[in-house]
């Protein structure tokens, strides 16, 4: 439960780049300014990730649990 994933709602994302400013540990920007999510969010940066999710001007970033393995 400690690891979370950051998911981008791609049609909603308008490349403001706020997420990469707030969370450079996990997110960088591609050549067009859209986020590249490099790794899952561990507990060290969870609070920053929550801030990034709240700060996105188009609400295009979500923090999710990894999906359970199908039985």
């Amino acid at each position: 439960m400690s690891e979370h994933l950051l998911r981008v709602d791609w049609p909603a994302c308008k490349a403001h780049g706020v997420c990469a400013e707030l969370l450079p540990e996990v997110i960088s920007l591609d050549e067009w300014g859209y986020p590249i999510v490099h790794e899952p969010v561990n507990s060290d940066v969870l609070a920053l990730a929550k801030t990034a999710v709240k700060a996105c001007p188009t609400l295009a970033l979500r923090l999710t649990q990894p999906p359970p393995r199908p039985a």
């Binding site: 791609w10 067009w32 590249i36």
Partner: protein, 417 residues
């Protein structure tokens, strides 16, 4: 298997050519008798109505996979839908210009698909069925409407609604279909939950491809042992294929799994590169084709996927790099333009491929763009395009080199004397 018969499909490719249809072993077995309900029932009798658990078990026994391209195990989808009393969506819209199997199936054998849809609806305990038809083939809609009237007259109590999919590549994608059903633009959006949990207007939904429902109807009728009369022990059953779908002599046929590729393609085509799985598919070198069978496992071992059953042998005298560049130009134009990496990345990829065609490089830029668009969209359009391009680079490095040296002899301007 390839008895040439006078059956016409309403399917046609983007220049209006109607695919040749051959009678098949299971789904396309009765097409010479026409698409009517009377002959269908005469031949097969009434459609059985198995319970959900029985249907799930049969689908698991024969390892039935979805036939829209992703090949998801249908038993898992059906079991998830059955737990939630899902409604049914039959997707008969093929966005891909090189695929005609669903349109052919819907027009030559509509009741084979509708029997499957009715069986699934009954098993799920719903009467609500939605059928998505391609708006660019109005005659297909007329045939489905007629088939539904026949069934209503025969006493079938389903509430069926038809929806017209837009004629673009990504219109058949699951989330785009759900948008269409909800009265919004027929384009993909982000899926936060699977359709079986939250689909049409947030309700649990069983959405699958038309061919998948046809297989399910057949399976419900003949049982898993009867279904395994065709195919191999590993992979029972049959599959529909579209051959040369964007060429001048397109063809739709049904073959058993395990059929050698050499029985499907001509001798000349077996010596050509093959684009397997359509515009989002994978290139194979001619040397990989001999000994290859129409089999998910064989094809996966060759590093490809059968997708929705689209087989595009490269026309003689053509260069796979030039063909790929042309396809990526088309695919870039088919981006819905909603997701940044796809809207920017696909035109950039088309541009980089033009550089590869004219100057032979730099291939690194093409590879970089493949990485930049993959898994970064609401739908798999960028992923599929990257797969096509990456397979071209992997299989034909000599071809790329020949463009750097200016020695590629493909697609020359021919002089016809």
């Amino acid at each position: 298997m390839t008895a040439t018969i006078a059956v016409q499909s309403a399917a046609r490719n983007d220049v209006g050519l109607i695919p040749k249809v051959s009678e098949g072993p299971a789904l396309l077995a009765g097409i010479t008798q026409g698409p009517g309900l009377a002959s269908h029932r005469d031949r097969l009798g009434p459609a059985p109505r198995p319970r959900a658990e029985a249907l799930v078990e049969m689908a698991r026994d024969v390892d039935l996979r979805g036939r829209g391209g992703a090949g998801f195990p249908f038993a898992i989808k059906l079991a998830a839908a059955a737990r939630r009393r899902a409604l049914v969506v039959v997707n008969a819209s093929e966005g891909e210009p090189a695929s005609h199997k669903d349109a052919t199936l819907m027009t030559c054998a509509p009741h084979v698909v509708l029997d499957g849809a009715a069986a699934v609806a009954h098993a799920l305990g719903t009467r609500e069925v939605h059928i998505v038809v391609p708006s660019e083939l109005p005659s297909l809609r007329l045939i489905v409407e007629k088939a539904l009237r026949e069934r209503a007259k025969a006493g079938e109590r389903l509430k069926v609604e038809l929806h017209d999919a837009q004629p673009w590549f990504v219109a058949g994608q699951a989330q785009a279909v759900l948008q269409l059903l909800a009265g919004r633009e027929n384009l993909p959006v982000t899926a936060w939950k699977p359709e079986a949990v939250s689909g049409h207007r947030g309700r649990p939904t069983l959405l699958s491809n038309a061919e998948t429902f046809a297989h399910l109807g057949h399976l419900a009728r003949v049982g898993s042992a009867g279904y395994a009369a065709h195919g191999t022990a590993d992979e029972p059953g049959t599959t529909l294929l579209t051959l040369r779908g964007d060429g001048w002599d397109p063809e739709v046929c049904e073959v058993a799994f395990g059929t050698p590729l050499a029985d499907v393609l001509s001798e000349a085509e077996m010596t050509q590169p093959l684009l397997l799985g359509g515009y989002h598919g994978t290139w194979l070198r001619p040397s990989q084709l001999s000994g290859l069978a129409v089999s998910r496992k064989d094809i996966a071992a060759a590093g490809a996927s059968i997708g929705a059953g689209v087989l595009l042998p490269l026309a003689e005298g053509w260069c796979p790099l030039v063909r790929t560049a042309a396809l990526v130009d088309y695919l870039a134009g088919q981006s819905a333009g909603r997701c940044g990496p796809c809207r920017n990345g696909l035109p950039a990829m088309a541009e980089a491929l033009r550089g590869l065609v004219h100057r032979g490089g730099p291939a690194g830029r093409v590879e970089e763009l493949c990485g930049l668009v993959t898994r970064r969209g609401a739908c798999a359009h960028p992923d599929g395009t990257a797969r096509l391009v990456a397979s071209m680079l992997a299989r034909f490095p000599d071809e790329v080199d020949s463009h750097a040296l200016g020695t590629c002899r493909g697609n020359r301007r021919e002089v016809f004397a």
